[in-house]
Amino acid sequence: MDWTRAYKRADGLDVNELSDGYVIYQQSADRVHYLNGTAVVVFELCNGETTADRIPDLLKGVYELTDPPTAEVEQCLARLLDEGLLQPA
């Protein structure tokens, strides 16, 4: 994962909103993914314009954290990329 890059949603995703997350159908892999609330925020921040290195600071503000959750964001982004839900913008 490259912190200097911006990421965006992969093509061919059916995103369904739930009360506590998203359930996503990925057409290309015929797979279903569940994203919890935090993963949804990271996923939504990947709008093709926001670079990855800004996401920990944005989450720090959203959740009123004392430190930016850099390791958690890295893990989440890596997982979303690995699963094919995000792609480089």
């Binding site: 369904n16 739930l18 506590d20 359930v23 159908y25």
Partner: protein, 280 residues
């Protein structure tokens, strides 16, 4: 001449025969549920016997087909009305679930075969104000649910749990798949025989109960996380012909609109009490 119209959700079937024994068999086969769902398609099916060529079955304008026996002719009618009815609902997700409405609030009881759906739904038939719509199959589309009208398949072994139904047992005929694996004998129950109106509406779902393992002691209700509930809903459903995206969408809509619970049934009375407290 026997003529009868039966509705299966979006389909209406005009059935006709000139044979008394076929008429009796068809009467045994059909349900008496009153349905609100709008009929979108009609079919005409008929069965008759010719002295020269035997049993004939005809569907709409198709050429008649021969059947080997009266049993084969009845089986054809039974198979075709359900195939055609479900074809007309090909854009729906099919969910293994019982369905009822209590004080205007619709709820589903979801579980695999043998989990106890029918036993619980049958027991609920006796609850004042609870309108039980179906015991086995629910169709979902665009956030709405409708029970598929089918006589309840009550296992003979569970009749003692619902005394009102047990009293009817001598008068009940075999249900679909009358002998299940494991030697269970299934009887077909039309809820109207319990002198309760059997009406099937359609609409959004307020509560989903996912049946868990049976337990001893008192029945238990616990909230169910959405992700876990979705996995179980997928396990107990089949998607529409339009593909998996629509399937996930139907289940996600259900999970978003309804409260989700796991219900572990011990005795039926405590299970019904929990359902009532949760739904009302």
């Amino acid at each position: 001449v026997f003529q009868r119209t039966v509705q299966l959700v979006a389909s209406a079937f005009d059935l006709a025969t000139d044979d008394d024994s076929v008429a009796r068999r068809l009467d045994d086969l059909l349900h008496s549920a009153q349905q609100q769902y709008p009929v979108r398609v009609r079919h005409a099916l008929s069965v008759w016997r010719s002295a020269q060529t035997g049993w004939h079955f005809a569907e709409d304008d198709r050429p008649p087909t021969l059947a080997d026996s009266i049993d084969a002719a009845i089986d054809l009618v039974d198979r075709r009305i359900h195939e055609l009815a479900l074809d007309a609902l090909a854009d729906h997700t099919k969910l293994h679930a019982g369905c009822a409405v209590w004080a205007g609030r619709r709820f589903l009881v979801v579980g695999r075969g043998g989990a106890g759906k029918t036993t619980l739904m049958t027991r609920l038939l006796g609850e004042e104000g609870c309108q039980v719509e179906g015991d086995e199959l629910v169709l979902l589309h665009d956030g709405e649910a409708v029970a598929y009208p089918r006589r309840f398949g009550v296992r003979r072994l569970t009749l003692s749990l619902v005394p009102e139904v047990g009293a009817l047992a001598p008068h009940l005929t075999d249900g679909p798949g009358a002998l299940e694996p494991g030697g269970y004998h299934v009887l077909a129950l039309d809820p109207a025989r319990l002198n309760v109106p059997w009406r099937i509406g359609y609409g959004t779902v307020d509560v989903v109960f996912l049946l868990g393992e049976r337990i001893s002691g008192a029945s238990r209700l616990s909230s169910c996380e959405t992700a876990a509930a979705l996995t179980r809903l997928m396990d107990q459903s089949a998607g529409p012909a339009s593909g998996s995206g629509a399937w996930v969408r139907d289940l996600a809509t259900l999970a978003r609109n309804a409260r989700l619970f796991e219900l572990n049934v011990a005795d039926l009375d405590s299970a019904v009490r929990l359902v009532r407290e949760c739904v009302l």
